[in-house]
Symmetry: C4
Subunit: 363 residues, 4 copies
Amino acid sequence: MTDDPPGGFLTLGDLEAAAAAKAPPDVWEFVQGGAGEETTLRGNRDAFHRQTLRPRVLTGVDRVDLRTTILGSPVAAPFFVAPTAYQGLLCADGELATARASSAAGLLSVYSTLSTRSLEEIAAAAPERPRWFQLYLQPDVDVARRLVERAERAGYRALVLTVDMPLLANRDRQLRSGVAVDGPAPIGNGPDVHSPPRALPPDGGRFTLRVDTGATWDVLDRLREWTRLPLVVKGVLTGEDARQAVDHGAKAVIVSNHGGRQLDGAPATLEALPEVVAAVGRDAEVYLDSGVRRGSDVLMALALGARAVGLGRPVLWALAAGGEAGVARLLSLLAVDVATVMALTGRTTVAAIDRSLLGTPRW
Amino acid sequence: MTDDPPGGFLTLGDLEAAAAAKAPPDVWEFVQGGAGEETTLRGNRDAFHRQTLRPRVLTGVDRVDLRTTILGSPVAAPFFVAPTAYQGLLCADGELATARASSAAGLLSVYSTLSTRSLEEIAAAAPERPRWFQLYLQPDVDVARRLVERAERAGYRALVLTVDMPLLANRDRQLRSGVAVDGPAPIGNGPDVHSPPRALPPDGGRFTLRVDTGATWDVLDRLREWTRLPLVVKGVLTGEDARQAVDHGAKAVIVSNHGGRQLDGAPATLEALPEVVAAVGRDAEVYLDSGVRRGSDVLMALALGARAVGLGRPVLWALAAGGEAGVARLLSLLAVDVATVMALTGRTTVAAIDRSLLGTPRW
Amino acid sequence: MTDDPPGGFLTLGDLEAAAAAKAPPDVWEFVQGGAGEETTLRGNRDAFHRQTLRPRVLTGVDRVDLRTTILGSPVAAPFFVAPTAYQGLLCADGELATARASSAAGLLSVYSTLSTRSLEEIAAAAPERPRWFQLYLQPDVDVARRLVERAERAGYRALVLTVDMPLLANRDRQLRSGVAVDGPAPIGNGPDVHSPPRALPPDGGRFTLRVDTGATWDVLDRLREWTRLPLVVKGVLTGEDARQAVDHGAKAVIVSNHGGRQLDGAPATLEALPEVVAAVGRDAEVYLDSGVRRGSDVLMALALGARAVGLGRPVLWALAAGGEAGVARLLSLLAVDVATVMALTGRTTVAAIDRSLLGTPRW
Amino acid sequence: MTDDPPGGFLTLGDLEAAAAAKAPPDVWEFVQGGAGEETTLRGNRDAFHRQTLRPRVLTGVDRVDLRTTILGSPVAAPFFVAPTAYQGLLCADGELATARASSAAGLLSVYSTLSTRSLEEIAAAAPERPRWFQLYLQPDVDVARRLVERAERAGYRALVLTVDMPLLANRDRQLRSGVAVDGPAPIGNGPDVHSPPRALPPDGGRFTLRVDTGATWDVLDRLREWTRLPLVVKGVLTGEDARQAVDHGAKAVIVSNHGGRQLDGAPATLEALPEVVAAVGRDAEVYLDSGVRRGSDVLMALALGARAVGLGRPVLWALAAGGEAGVARLLSLLAVDVATVMALTGRTTVAAIDRSLLGTPRW
């Protein structure tokens, strides 16, 4: 990472604008769009905008330390690269660029079942830092098992099971743009790996809908038979489900509404976070993604009990805008922003970010 | 119903846009406009946007079943075609196209006193599925009685009495567009059938207004003398009136603000629903219309106690956009959307949609 | 009043649009503008938009009667023409047109101290109906007294003392448009009659501001010595002041923020109304103005305890749009709208409009 | 100050518009921009817009007196010129113009460590009125001490320590406009005086951020050793910090979010004010800045317990628009506006502005 280069990206908005200009229009709509009328997509940002922070002053902020641990692994900052599919649509190197940049920054990164590159290629690109593998359950259970075994073999340190996509949501913007939702790009992990299905239109007179991935909570028990990797459950928005996850052996849950891309009508993740934190207690770590764009967002989530937050779309912007260097720039910008907001609120360590930081929501 | 045809309609927004392009401008304003400043028209959508859903995961959603019953009749999904006047303005076949498409889809449909085609023609177009007849009271009581008797004879299975239109509201948009509000098209049920009246400007110095349809609740008792069809009361927004309807023999009530076309200032139907459900208890079924556009809207209404929801304007869009095929497409799109949202919230049957699905409103 | 003429005005919006096209731009800004950033101007409309109405159905609305009394005088409807200055800016006949149209409609009308025509001319134009005279206190107390005596002699039936204008507010829009705020037109009541003053810029180093009309509540006692006309106090927004008015002999108070033209930051009149009604009890009548545009607004105010509501800017629109015929059209349109909303909410008399009509505010 | 000159500035909006047209674009973005997404910048205005005022009438407002004292010094009005950096960017005379105009108006003014002119030049320009010096702590403690000693020597009457800028925030708008945030103009107080630092991008793999000004509360004790000037702490948004300030000897605190330029996510100052007032009690004076634009804003802050309010950006607008005459015009306009709102709410003295003036927030 370097200091502001002339002509460089100074804000996340610069990365987004550059990506919008470079990405093919249909890919751009795929990246930016949400489910339905995008109420939840907007709601995620609104929740961060409504929350206020109570800054403390003169606490002595001569050094601000962003370091923390995630499932025991030391990381340079309390944010990570969330899994997003098909990164090769944004930049030729795809996930390799992401892996190199996040590894160099000392950050955790998570890779999707639907990566453009294979999980082994990604592992080879950046061996030093913690990597996690995100799993979509597969119609053929053996395909899923082989993915898990490959991830463990390739040195991934945790398995992130996504549970909020039994099927693909209706995404109006994406449908209008013409991106075929069930497979916009080759899947690097092999031809037998599948994206979650769309709902099929019903046959005449019968509205019974077949969905192929009807997993229940015991799928966690099965996964624990397949692997010794810790399990992380991604896509939980209620205390009840968070508790279920922990009771079935999950070491962490990710409060996520899939970036507003699945259930339009789901609450903002910042609003769902407190009940998940309360339900889980000290039994597991809690992370949050969906809508994180600023250092202040990171602090709000941490103040409400998240241990770390994930970045989705911004990584895709950075890939399109500048490949590996773009991702490096993104991570540096966010780190500086987190540190700045910590200094401005009088916090010098991640541990000092607690509920006393939170003010009354705006209205 | 067929799978996505090339060039087909992929969202309700596509149907609306195609209709806007095809319908004559004055007809389009008639369809889209609401009463007054359209506060209630917007409020209907706002209420759905504010409500959040608490999705449950890993509940096993390998089959999602939309079937339910409405007044005992099995239907393929918990939504129905609400009555709308003058469908012939949007498509030459008018109500015949609606009847064929909704019947093929296994859905209930309701036809207006002010249909462009006669109730007998509609019945002949699609005899297999439940049809209901919507009644506007008439200045001449015998005209109303003959309509009821014809509907019963033609095999309509319930009588829907609209109670929120003793007269036509002031609809600014419609007035500006030049659609004559008291009779935009021929009425298929005969020349002696009338639309509800407009308020007449007062004579000099006297602001006493004559309205010709001053019915009271005992009109339900009279209707029960005329017919053995079950009575449904449409246009109720308070618990008190819902209770009155049930006490006068109604088997169901429809929480409706006439799509925002009558009383500007009326609450959103989603907001009025709970008090109606509480007042009625188990004594009648409750339905809701006005503003339903998405699968998530359907689930919200069902979660608050509605047994089914009605579709008004979207059917008119579909008729204008593609006639019978357009309506078929609309019903298929909504069915897939309902099923998708059920899967995404972890519900596989209509019976499983209850209040635990509802989160805190957004702000 | 006549039925919809071809090319006639069908909505208040038509009148406003026609007025905007006809009135000189600076006059138009004078009419439309409010104080400061126009927060209160917008707030008046927002309050009506937020309030919901609980419609009752099947109550038997074959006749809707708008008649009521205001301070004992029978009027054709529960709304009146509020006093507005300089009506001659909008139409050559000025207040004479207003007087003729409101008198023909059987409605109360109130005329400003700052009328373009003299109070005697106005009285002569329309002798049959109740007229009230609005008084701005004058720097020279004898000028005020002569105005009161002239009004009583000319048959005005009440004296409306405006108390919210000890000086003119800062009205940004008006200042920008170049209308000289202290006297945009000749004052018909004579050259010694003055508009309320503007605050004068302070002299160097002293921010003590001279205001010339520093009246206190005992001014009401003085007015009662000058005249036997009943006193109405206009421009009250708190229960405390309403009580003071009654205790000093006022027979009625008008809850008004001067159409958002005086104190930017004042509450919406609909929000201030309940505390005034509670403070006054049965000891005086309460009216409301500022932002009334629709029949539903009238019902909301009446439901909260107002006996009648005043119309300000719409009368100016109507004058500009069509002179006397324009005002007649406005009054007819509003009467039909009030009657329509009464029918749609199941109320056939003004007395039946009570708090049970009010639903929960929208958000 | 003079009466409205032909072609003069009639509103603060006129001053802002003139400044926008005259200032170089990058300077303008520097002036107008806030931190991050400018949520707090907008929030400051929203808070004033939401608050309502309860006007009292007929209280006898023939004279309105704006005079008050600030830390014992008589001033002509309860507002002052807040410290803003680099006034020379807006007008060649910079702070000298501000000093002359505010002194002539009998108002307190505060000058920044980062003034374009030296504190001695400013003092010489306008010796008669109270002036305060604002201090940014310096990397070299001796530099800070010399600044304090110079200020005391030059007759400044209080020392305002800014505590909300241990480092510069990320200001997206400013970054995009290309203004180098760490030094847009020469600093008049000498080449060894520094602006607060920006956060530096972290080195590879380490996100520990160095900040050079990690002061703690005992800095106030040190300042009291250096000078007998009363200490004012600027940039406090919590009751806890306000109490700390008082306990460390501060005579006053300024509730400020630095005009929305530092912590995006901080509450509006009007919302933070009550808890600061409650925490401080009678032990210190409390002032407020950030977003004050209207007389009604001044009254709202005073009603909630502020003794006076500061003006930031508007002074920069006035400087750009008209130099010393522009600032004089600004101060006169605001004084007239404050006096007008006092008259319209029935208050003739600053002491009469209390909580009874405040109504319910708007929504």
